[in-house]
């Protein structure tokens, strides 16, 4: 019989005992300590490598993801770029292809920008636009004239209307002034009477004086007084005038201007004084006057205001009450009032219609008289040689009026002959006259004609040239004419005293005396010893009748 397996186990002799096992473990630990350490280190190294590999893998995965993302981004960008290019193409087609569309889209933007800029700095914008404004307006007028007409009509219409009204007033004043100036004229009195105006009323009208009493320069809106001349003693009232005038003008504009900003009060009458107002862009000029202003007065005020704005536009515009910011305006007002006063008192009055007619008629008459006088003078000069023919060198009727020798009846009047050149006294024989009194010789005696000459002949010498004395330098035959081969008049001996009475070309007409009497003849100048130059009055450049 065997024992049941449930009995207790008996110790195995082959199994190590508990103490041995401990020893064994101790020995193992001693023997394998180094290996264990190495194994641990290896395990750690393996773990580290595994971690590094895991990190590398993770990084690689991340890189892959980034690369994928990058590719995706690039693809999207390419798509977006394509979309943009497409959009640009579409926009180009829509906008650049249709500039009007582009303009319509941009216009509001530009308008807003420009409006904003103008609000921020109005002056700068004005400076920027001013150079092209003229050209822009011209272009706009050229392109759309009707639009410009429509736009400008309210302004131009009012300006024209005002100008016409001013002109009409000027005409009225002109007529009035002319009426006053034509005092004393019957015509004026008649006209006045026809209109029911008595002479006394007319005289009273003439007596109305005109004076510029004060000038005020006032800023629009504020009514601040910029300057006045003459300066008021009461400074307060001067300052108040600016404000009150401005208030009155504003009131008139509001009440009667019917909303129009370009119509304004330009004249106020108070008693015998009137305030004439001429307005500029920033200031207006108020002139207190008495009487009826002369023509051109308003134009002078307008010119002053315009000139002031041209010269001091900014100072006037930005005046805020500080006088240091203003140019010296009072001297300008003083000059203006002086000009106006001088113009009124000293300026020559324009002529009336009738006076102008009188001046015109007198001018025309004077011109006619002058023309007639010129014509008469010219006519006289032209006809003088015909009426009084010049002397002929062929004169035969000669006379030596300066000699004292008793004359013999040698005068032989030839009806066809003319007076000897410039040396023949006036002789009027009767019957027929033989000489023409054109000679220039001045006789000094009255020749008593001989028996062969009718007793009625009394030569009246009127000749003026003085013959010159000379002497002959050779024996020469004197000829009857200043020409060779003509008949001889006589022989003149050397050193004979002669008198030269005329010169023609190289010939001289001489007179000499001998026992037979006085002779006359022509000799060549070269045979004469001239003691003095021959005066021009004796020289005859052209001789009528010389063959």
């Amino acid at each position: 019989m065997t024992s049941p397996p449930t009995q207790g186990r008996q110790p195995d002799s082959h199994q190590p005992r508990q103490g041995d096992a401990d020893l064994l473990r101790a020995a193992q630990s001693i023997l394998f300590a180094q290996e264990r350490e190495r194994i641990g280190a290896l395990e750690k190294e393996i773990g580290a490598r595994q971690d590094a590999e895991a990190q590398i893998a993770a990084l690689q995965e991340q890189v892959a993801r980034l690369e994928a993302k990058l590719k995706e981004t690039e693809r999207r960008q390419e798509d977006h770029l394509l979309d943009l290019q497409t959009s640009i193409s579409i926009l180009n087609y829509k906008n650049f292809g249709k500039s009007e569309s582009l303009l319509s889209r941009l216009a509001p933007v530009f308008s807003r920008l420009i409006g904003q800029r103008i609000e921020e700095d109005r002056d700068e914008m004005a400076e920027a636009f001013s150079p092209i404004m003229g050209e822009a307006i011209r272009t706009q007028i050229r392109n759309s004239r009707q639009d410009m007409v429509d736009a400008l009509y309210p302004i131009i219409g009012a300006v024209v209307q005002r100008s016409v009204a001013d002109t009409l007033r000027e005409i009225q004043r002109n007529i009035d002034a002319r009426l006053r100036r034509t005092s004393g004229m019957v015509w004026r009195s008649l006209r006045a009477r026809l209109r029911g105006v008595s002479s006394s009323e007319l005289a009273l009208r003439d007596a109305i004086p005109f004076s510029v009493r004060q000038l005020f320069l006032i800023q629009h809106g504020t009514g601040l007084l910029l300057a006045s001349y003459p300066a008021e003693d009461r400074e307060l009232s001067s300052g108040m005038i600016g404000g009150m005038l401005t208030a009155i003008r504003e009131f008139a504009r509001d009440s009667f201007g019917r909303g129009q900003t370009d119509t304004e009060l330009d004249e106020i009458q108070y008693g015998d004084e009137r305030i004439i107002i001429r307005s500029g862009q920033h200031v207006y000029l108020a002139a207190v006057i008495g009487g009826v202003e002369r023509e051109g007065f308003h134009a002078q005020l307008n010119e002053f205001v315009s000139e002031l704005h041209v010269q001091h536009e900014n100072e006037l515009r930005y005046y805020d009450g500080d006088p240091d910011t203003l140019p010296p305006l009072q001297p300008k007002l003083a000059q203006l009032i002086e000009r106006l006063t001088i113009a009124v008192s000293d300026r020559p009055h324009p002529l009336s219609r009738m006076q102008r007619w009188l001046v015109f008629i007198m001018g025309v008459g004077g011109a006619l008289l002058l023309a007639l006088a010129c014509f008469y003078l010219q006519f006289t000069i032209a006809l003088f040689p015909l009426a009084f023919p010049g002397p002929s060198p062929t004169a035969t009727g000669t006379l030596a009026p300066t000699l004292t020798v008793t004359p013999k009846p040698t005068m032989t009047p030839v009806p066809a002959a003319t007076a000897a050149p410039m040396a023949v006294p006036t002789i009027t024989p009767s019957p027929p006259p033989t000489q023409t009194p054109t000679a220039t010789l001045t006789p000094t005696q009255t020749v008593t004609p001989s028996a062969t000459v009718p007793p009625s002949i009394t030569p009246t010498a009127t000749l003026t040239p003085t013959p010159i004395a000379a002497s002959m330098i050779g024996h020469v035959y004197a000829l009857t004419e200043p020409k060779l081969f003509t008949p001889r008049a006589g022989l003149v001996f050397k050193e004979t005293a002669v008198v030269i009475t005329a010169v023609y070309d190289t010939w001289a007409r001489i007179e000499w005396a001998d026992s037979d009497g006085v002779h006359t003849g022509w000799v060549l100048l070269k045979w004469i010893n001239l003691r003095e130059p021959v005066p021009a009055s004796l020289v005859t450049p052209t001789v009528v009748g010389i063959p």
């Binding site: 504020t222 601040l224 300052g239 108040m240 600016g242 404000g243 208030a247 009450g321 006088p323």
Partner: protein
């Protein structure tokens, strides 16, 4: 001494005391009779301001319903304004903003001084300080309580305005 000129306006509803304030300020007296302004009443007051003189040209405008018609032209160029309400009439309070805005439309840089007038009528007062503060809150302005009858704060009002204009 240099004299600087400034245009200022008095604004406010009918019968709030604008003309009386000016009379008290300019002429240093008070007229018990109410003078209804027609259009504009012009006054001038000179203040000594250290190294210079300041001439206030005071435009007293007609208040009330005509303001919309005649106001803008009169406000042009004003360096400042005193806007007045009647402390005994509640309906004049709301007009302060209306006048202030209107003036600022025309002159954005205009200096403003708000005034509650008739402080002497203590028993009849219907506008409190709180009402004024609330009303003027949006305008960022303080106010002065005046009496044209007694002269209380009248000069100070104009001096305040001068300070604001020249400040």
């Amino acid at each position: 001494m240099k004299t600087i000129q400034k245009k200022i306006c008095l604004l406010g509803d009918f019968s709030v005391g604008k003309t009386s304030l000016i009379r008290r300020f300019v002429e240093e007296r008070f007229d018990e009779k109410y003078l209804s302004t027609i259009g504009v009443h012009m006054s001038r007051k000179r203040l000594e301001r250290g190294d210079h003189l300041l001439d206030f040209f005071i435009w007293d405008l007609a208040g009330g319903e005509d303001f919309d018609v005649i106001g803008p032209n009169y406000l042009r160029g004003a360096a400042g304004a005193i806007i007045v309400c009647d402390l005994t009439r509640q309906d004049t309070l709301a007009a302060l903003s209306k006048y202030a805005n209107r003036l600022r439309e025309i002159n954005p840089k205009a200096a403003l001084v708000f005034v509650g007038n008739k402080i002497d009528l203590v028993d009849e007062r219907t506008i409190s300080d709180a009402d004024l503060v609330v009303e003027l809150d949006s305008l960022a302005n303080t106010y002065l309580l005046t009496s044209a009858k007694t002269g209380e704060n009248v000069d100070q009002t104009f001096v305040r305005l001068a300070d604001l204009i020249e400040g």
